[in-house]
């Protein structure tokens, strides 16, 4: 156990010592500033949130709280930027070491390939969690500058969600949703890590992973394939949005967690098998 802890700590040093690891954090921060400013000064963006709730009898002053805007800015980031950056890091975890030659140095040591992959998976999962928590933390921080504290008003018409929460419950839902967003990030990272176990460049692993996610999103939303939507991984990525429903559908969340666990396990087993049989050469 002590060895595992030391090896995991080393893996985190490697991961967080690299400048490119922080590209995602930087991009998120800039995007969040832009979105916060748009919500603050652009009527179109404000109206997107305010109008539906005004029809329900709420005023703009009530609705435009820091928590509401933080959640609203997370929607596009979680769907577009977050998969991109966890794919980049997941694709790097193994393939970059193979490309640089450091993997050969590691594998001249008495460590099994499955153990090495397990350590990298845990490090990738920690990165994914830190990224999502950083994303959520920054969103709250930035919106606190431009907006006043208050309740949580969530408008996601494409999911049929229009909910209102008092500040206390709003925070609970926000934290719960972030937890499931972390599960999404870990699943995408696992997919990219699996691909990076094959003999391919880090960028290729990241591109293939993000392509798989986008392809799943497209297929899942095709009306002709509505009957098959439960076969696509991205269908289960919507779980975090369920946390913003007035009544949380726990059975759906439980089902999604089981499915994502299954996907992660499958990715790990395929990755471990590919990595195990691979020849590591200079």
């Amino acid at each position: 156990m002590k060895m595992f802890y030391l090896q995991l700590r080393n893996e985190l040093w490697k991961l967080f010592g690299k400048k490119r690891t922080y590209i995602g954090f930087g991009a998120f921060f800039v995007t969040e500033i832009v979105i916060a400013l748009l919500f603050r000064y652009n009527h179109g963006a404000r109206n997107f949130v305010v109008r539906p709730l005004e029809r329900m009898g709420y005023t703009a002053e009530e609705v435009l709280s820091s928590l509401t805007i933080a959640v609203s800015m997370l929607f596009p980031i979680a769907n577009l930027l977050m998969p991109l950056y966890v794919s980049l890091v997941g694709g790097d975890l193994m393939a970059k070491e193979a490309e640089d030659g450091t993997l050969r140095m590691i594998l001249s040591r008495p460590i099994s390939r499955v153990r090495l992959l397990a350590i990298k998976w845990v490090a990738g999962a920690i990165f994914s969690a830190v990224l999502v928590l950083g994303l959520a933390g920054c969103a709250i921080l930035l919106t606190s500058i431009f907006f006043t504290p208050g309740g949580l008003y969530v408008v996601a018409p494409w999911e049929g969600i229009m909910s209102v929460f008092e500040p206390g419950r709003g925070w609970q839902r926000f934290l719960l949703a972030d937890f499931f967003l972390i599960c999404n990030a870990i699943s995408i990272m696992s997919l990219a890590l699996m691909l990076s176990c094959f003999n391919m460049k880090p960028a290729a692993a990241a591109i293939v992973a993000i392509s798989v996610v986008v392809l799943n999103l497209i297929l899942q939303d095709m009306p002709a394939l509505a009957d098959l939507k439960e076969w696509f991984i991205t269908y289960y990525f919507r779980t975090w949005l369920n946390c913003y429903r007035e009544i949380i559908p726990w059975w759906k969340i439980g089902q999604a967690c089981c499915m994502l666990f299954g996907f992660n396990l499958t990715f790990f087993i395929i990755g471990a098998t590919a990595f195990q049989v691979r020849d590591i050469k200079s």
Binding site: S108, R109, P110, D279
Partner: protein, 300 residues
């Protein structure tokens, strides 16, 4: 320490290592020679469990590598050509990272090795600021951290300047003398191998073509110095007669198996050539290696 038995490795259809058997005894500095692409690095990769053999058995420190890799590599250190590190981290951090893949390593052990390889004072600097020579020392440090019994060095002089090569040579000799390590040195720098190794194996096109002591290479005398009135014409006659299988430098010929210098004299004199000198060329490892490799090419 290392035992390879009839090892083969295919990459797709290509046979990279063919029926390689090798024995590296404990306490030796063993040289693995061969040109680029001869199969040396693949053989080393198989010894370290990085490349899976297609056939055969590989024992390192008494353990079968493919089945029992962890035990086999417990007391093994390795250095590869152009050593790479996590350049954005300090040398100390790199040593911690790499050593923890073997066992928990106390800071005092890292300090001891850093001092031993002469990196004291620079261990907290980022590796990207290191010269080739310092990287080579760091590579040596990471290989020595697990207190190995066996050191595998794959082209350790690659990219080093003459001073660095000299330093590496002295270090290898010191490791052998002071720590009693068994060392497998893969190289195509024949001069280095000749100065360091007690035994060698020569690989050519994936096959082992020689295994023996350096003294044995000096005794093998197949290259002959031949000075005649017209060397090119003499070579042509001898080739047509199947008496030589190689020539180089405008004065050396490699006699075919079973051909003696007396037969060469008779043939050339009979053809009307004047012979000024014929005699065995004093052998160094380079001429021995060339005779082996060119002899194989000639035979092919």
């Amino acid at each position: 320490m290392i035992q390879l038995q009839n090892v083969k490795k295919y990459f797709g259809q290509r046979l990279a290592v063919n029926d390689l058997s090798l024995h590296v005894p404990k306490g030796e500095i063993f040289g693995l020679l061969g040109h680029n692409g001869a199969g040396k690095s693949t053989a080393i990769g198989m010894m370290l469990g990085q490349v899976w053999p297609s056939d055969g058995e590989i024992l390192v420190c008494g353990h079968e590598v493919t089945r029992n890799r962890q035990q086999a590599l417990q007391k093994v250190g390795a250095i590869f050509e152009a050593p790479v590190f996590y350049d954005y981290l300090s040398a100390w951090r790199n040593l911690e990272i790499l050593s923890h893949y073997t066992a928990p390593t106390p800071a005092s052990r890292i300090r001891e090795i850093v001092d031993w390889v002469g990196l004291s004072g620079r261990e907290q600097s980022k590796v990207r600021t290191y010269s080739h020579g310092m990287r080579a020392r760091l590579a040596l440090a990471q290989a020595l951290l697990p207190q190995p019994d066996l050191l595998i060095l794959d082209e350790p002089n690659d990219g080093l300047d003459p001073e660095g090569i000299h330093e590496m040579r002295q270090t290898i000799l010191r490791l052998h003398r002071e720590m009693g390590l068994t060392i497998l040195l893969s190289s195509h720098q024949l001069n280095e191998v000749e100065q360091l190794c007690t035994r060698i194996a020569v690989m050519n096109q994936g096959e082992k073509v020689f295994e023996g002591t350096i003294a044995e290479t000096r005794r093998a005398q197949s290259w002959f110095k031949l000075r005649t009135g017209d060397f090119a014409a003499s070579v042509k006659i001898l080739r047509e007669a199947g008496m030589i299988i190689g020539e180089r430098e405008g004065s050396l010929v490699l006699l075919a198996e079973g051909t003696g210098s007396d037969a060469v004299v008779v043939k050339l004199v009979g053809a009307g050539h004047r012979i000024f000198e014929i005699g065995p060329e004093s052998q160094n490892l380079e001429s021995f290696y060339l005779s082996l490799v060119q002899g194989r090419k000639g035979a092919a």
